[in-house]
Structure formats: C-alpha cells, structure tokens
Symmetry: C2
Subunit: 365 residues, 2 copies
C-alpha cells in the first residue's frame, strides 16, 4: 500500500497532524495568555499519543470521564488526571483507591452517596481529592448553587478521607448559542458562578480553591474566563460541524475527516457511500442538517445513514459523482468518531505519517 491517503481502505478516520497541532497551540497559548491552566478532555481522541502532544504543548494535566479512561492513561505514564464524573459503586471506588496511590487524581462529587463512598476509600495520607460539582444550568450533574452548594461543601469538609480542592461545572447550554456574543455571555456567567463558589469555599476554610469549567466554544472567549483557574475543552483538537455552526472553528481548523468512497449510484442524484452510522455515528449538529459535511461539495448532502451506508442526495444536472470516488467528510461531532476505531491515521500533506492508536477506545466503564 502506498502511503497516500486515497489508497487507504475506506471508511477510515484521518487526522491532519498540522491542523491538530495548530489547534493544540492555539488553545494552549490562549489559556496561557489569560493565566488559566489547560486540562484538556481526552474523550475526543482517547489516544495516548495525542494526550502527550497536549501535555508537551503546555497542558497542566488531563480530564477523563470514566475511570477506565484514567486507568489507560496512567498505564501509559500520564499521572495528573481529573476524572470529571461521579465515580459510583464499590467496584469503582476500589479501582479509584488504587489509582489514587499511584497518580495525582481528582474527581468530582455532588451527592452524599458518592461522598460517603469516596470517604471510605480515602485516608488521611491518601485522601480523595475532589472538586464539588455545581450545576450551572445544564441540569446534568451538580448541586445547586448558593445554600445547597455551601451546605454540601461543609458536610464533605468534615470527611477525613476526602480533600476538597475546589469547584467544578459543566455548561452544556453554551452549545445552544446563536452568536459569539451569546458564547461570551455564557462564559461570563460561568466564570462568575465559579468565582462566587470559590469565595464560598474560601469562607469555609478551603485554601486556594481550584475553579474548573469551560469547553471548546469557550476557548474563543477566554478573556471572559479570567480568574477561573482551569478549563477542560476537548473537541478543539479536531473541531467539527458543531464548531463550524457555532462559529468557533473554520473549515481549515477541522483536523478530522472521514474518508469514504462512493459504492453505488442507484438513481441519478442518489449515491451510497461506505460510511454509515457505525462510522459517522447518528449525532446531529445544531444547525446543519444531515450527517456530516462533505469537503468541497456543499451541494451534496448526507441525508440518511444505515449502519454501513451513507445515503447522498444531489442535483445530478449540476454534480457528477462516480463509483469509487473518494470523499472526505467533516463529522458533526468529532468526539464520538475515534472511539469506533482501533486506530486513526495521522496524515501530513496528504501522506500517512502515523497510525495513532485509540488506546481508550470503548472505555466507558
């Protein structure tokens, strides 16, 4: 096999390394400029190789969602990890206890059930470091701001096995923004909430509280996050149609492409490609209909997915497609794509440079 990308058997996921590295440096530098630590979420790529690239560029640690992701990263020598998820159940607490002895681990907590579990596995010498999760409006996880937050923090503070390190939030509402101004005001509101919680934590005696927030949209409004201590964006390394829709990335910033081939043209204006929902996923984007953007062919739409077929529609008077033709798709949501692969292709100038292993593929438990 030649190492030209168009010789790769399709479907395949390719990453333009130049673009990914530029994305890494943009966000690393933007965070540095505002004095905010970058703790990128590795859910997007789930790869040790790209995690190390992020750390080399200046990230201060990483974020994972699941304890199984943390296990993979620790096995590979990455030792500053926030498990940004409620770690629940005896089996997981035991795994967390072990990780906490060998790496610098933090996790989040928002319920007494989980605080009690963490307290059981933490000791005075090896306390479980936690950020208290506060709900900034997404209603996904988190205690409510204000009295609930203070009361919960006070209870957790009494626990010898737990050390409160700060406050955590996730603002999913930002993805509904219709303009950069809306993104900025989400950033401002999130920063204000976090800073208020930090004051409340200081009031009850927590020293130098960490405030952890942010996501990829917020990376274009980091001046509004000034004073927050760390951000946890993930998607920015690749970008996707969701980012294009939000105006936080341009096509040239999209490092990830799904390479597919036209396999059938049953009728004029109808073509099938060899990438379906098991490659592109069924994730939709906020404003762009269909299942991904075909690079260079805004007139051709991916209107439906079966598991191994993507169905295209186009005007056959204006566009010719042919069997065997290679197309490149920017996915609606980059963070769900590498998880479906054993590896993705790292390319530079259209040539394969490296097969990047997806070390934490499927690690959701």
């Amino acid at each position: 096999m030649s190492n030209h990308i168009y010789d790769i058997p399709s479907p395949a996921v390719i990453i333009d390394l130049d673009v990914a590295e530029r994305n890494i440096y943009r966000v690393t530098n933007a965070a540095k400029k505002e004095g905010i630590n970058l703790r990128p979420h590795i859910k997007t790529h789930k790869s040790v190789y790209l995690t190390k690239k992020l750390l080399e560029a200046g990230a201060k640690g990483i974020t994972v969602a699941k304890i199984s992701e943390a296990e993979v990263m620790i096995e590979n020598g990455i030792d500053n990890i926030l498990i940004a998820y409620p770690v629940l159940g005896k089996e997981k607490w035991e795994r967390l206890r072990k990780l906490n002895r060998i790496a610098q681990i933090m996790t989040t907590v928002d319920s007494m059930e989980i605080a009690n579990g963490l307290n059981e596995i933490g000791t005075k010498d090896y306390p479980i470091n936690v950020l208290i999760e506060v709900d900034s409006g997404t209603h996904r996880c988190g205690v409510q701001p204000g009295n609930d937050f203070i009361k919960f923090a006070l209870k957790v503070k009494e626990m010898e096995g737990i050390k409160i390190r700060g406050v955590f939030t996730y603002n999913g509402l930002i993805y509904g923004s219709k303009s950069l101004d809306e993104i900025k005001s989400h950033a401002e509101a999130e920063a204000n909430l976090l800073k208020k919680c930090v004051e409340q934590l200081k009031d009850i005696g927590i020293e130098e509280p960490i405030s952890s927030g942010g996501n990829t949209p917020i990376t274009i409004a980091l001046d509004k996050m000034k004073g927050v201590t760390e951000i946890r964006p993930g998607n920015f390394i690749f970008n996707d149609v969701t980012g294009l829709d939000l105006g936080v990335a341009e096509e040239k910033d999209c490092a990830i492409r799904i390479l597919a081939r036209v396999v059938s043209i049953p009728l004029p204006g109808h073509a099938a490609i060899d990438a379906g929902s098991k490659t592109l996923t069924s994730d939709t984007a906020a404003r762009s209909p269909g299942f991904g953007y075909i690079v260079g062919m805004p007139d051709v739409k991916i209107v439906k997915l079966n598991e191994e077929h993507g169905l295209l529609k186009y005007d056959p008077d204006k566009r010719k497609l042919s069997i065997g033709q290679v197309i490149e798709i920017i996915p609606n949501h980059a963070c769900v794509i590498p998880n479906l692969c054993d590896f993705i292709y790292g390319v530079r100038n259209g040539k394969i440079e490296k097969e990047i292993k997806i070390d934490a593929r499927g690690k959701n438990y």
Copy 2:
C-alpha cells in the same frame, strides 16, 4: 465480583440468553415452515459465539456487510458467507480473491465498475459468485428493476470471472410501516419483485437463481415471502424499541439490555445515568421519542445524551429514583450497541453465564 448482573460495573450490555435463543428458534422455524433459507445478518451481534448458535439452529449460512467482518468469521471457521455490500477497490478485491479460495463466498454487484473489478479477480475455477442487487425502492444500492436489471445481468453474464447466482434486494422502506398490514404488503411487493427478477435471470440462462431479501420486520410475514429462496434478518436475535414500535416484537422478546446506574440527581425530576451516546448511540426510533426504553419505568424518559451521561426526566411527585439505582434500558436500535464493546454479558436468570466476545467489533472496512 459476584455473578449477579446488578454487580456488573456499569454501563454494560447484557443479553438474556434464554430470550435470544427463543428468538433464534422462532425465526429459524418460521423460515423452515415456509421453505425459505435463513442467512442471518451478523452485523447485529458481530460475535462468533452467536453466529454459531444461529448455524446450529438451522441457518444455512450468514450475511455480513463488510469484508473485514467476513475475514473474522472465516478465521473462526464459518465458511458460507454472503458479503451483502458492493466490494470496491483494488485492496478489497485482493482480500476478496483470497477469501474466495478458502470459503464459500458470495457478494452483491450493481455497477459495471465493481463487476469489472470482480471479474479481474475471479477465474474459471474460482469465479466470484454474485447476486445482482436490484433496488426495491429504498434507493440505497441496486440497479433499477426491469430493463436495467436485465441489461446489467446480460453484461455480467459475459464475464468469465463472475458467476451470477441470483438476485438480491434490501427493502428499507418497510421500517416506515405503521401497521402489520403495511409490513405484509411490503413483504408481498418485495417477494413479487424478487420472483420476477428470478424469471428474468432464468430467461437469460441462469440456473436455479437464488432470491435474497427480507429483514427482521418481514419475519412476521414470511408466508408472504413464499417462493423467495433466502432471507437475511439480523436484528431479530435481540430486538429493540424499533421492533416494539413496528409491532414485530414485545418487551419479553427484547434480549438486549443496557445496564446503567443513576449517578446524579441535580434537581427533582432530573437524573443522570452513566450511559450516554458512547453506549446507547444517538440512534432514534420511529415512534418512541428519547434514547431507549427504561424497563419497568415507562414514565421516565431518556431525553438527552451526552457522551457518557444519559439525562432522565420524570415527575418527582410520582417517581423516586436514587443515586446508585440500577436501571435496564432496551435500546432504540440493537444493531449498533455490541459494536461499541469488546464483549457483552450473556446472562440467564439474572446471572452471568458467559462473556460473549464481539469478534468483529469495529470491522467496517
């Protein structure tokens, strides 16, 4: 770890083996009764173990979508395989050539580009066995019925490297059925088309043509498919919300469950579970809103998925949920679930009997 399912770390995919085996025998026997060969699609489970169960029960061979799935099955001793997909490109043709020497392989063809490729790799002694794909209205793949079909078959018939074995169709439109009568009339129309194509193939000298169609909905209307030689359902082994919506399965027929736990209750009536889009996928069902059906809790809806969070809504005055509570979810679309796992749990009477390896996980290329 005990072997009770509620001790499994979540999220996890569990399969009730009694139910799966009952599903296997229902369809095997129904096909036998109508004199139709069953060639189940293994995309649903991608497991050698369950493939062998299907063959033991009487399936006459298997269907796969991708050549990589065929490779896995052949490595595991399964040797009668239809690759129900246009196999395209030099690299794949070479792989197909090799498989064709060691197993009983058929594939589908609907374009001269692919016919020419297959002709190149087939020989008089080892011809590539093909079913000609005809479009029964889905416009996914296939030549158009009638003259286009005959003309295409005549051209392929001239090729020494290819042996036409019959006709193939996929009727995706059946999934839009709103009643059993609609399913039956889809079955009838599909059978009529296939039988007409068979006559046309006989007219040009193809002996004993195979006619291959069907899917899971059609398994409840097999009397309408009489005369068709083989069917290729996949989903029936597990069933899902799509099957419930269509009326082709009841809850007791759904062998697959996603086991998840409530990890956070940020506000009354809002809970988060530890299964998100990387476990449940974003696939929707025809008539049931949300992202899966929670067994025993029709009043609790999975309204949104993030990657590792499922967001539930319910009336807190009528329903209490608690942190740590285990729930079981019937997925919207069973065929995309095991593909996300290295293995799934085979259970019987609530106890783990076997870890079933997903041998062809991620094999989409």
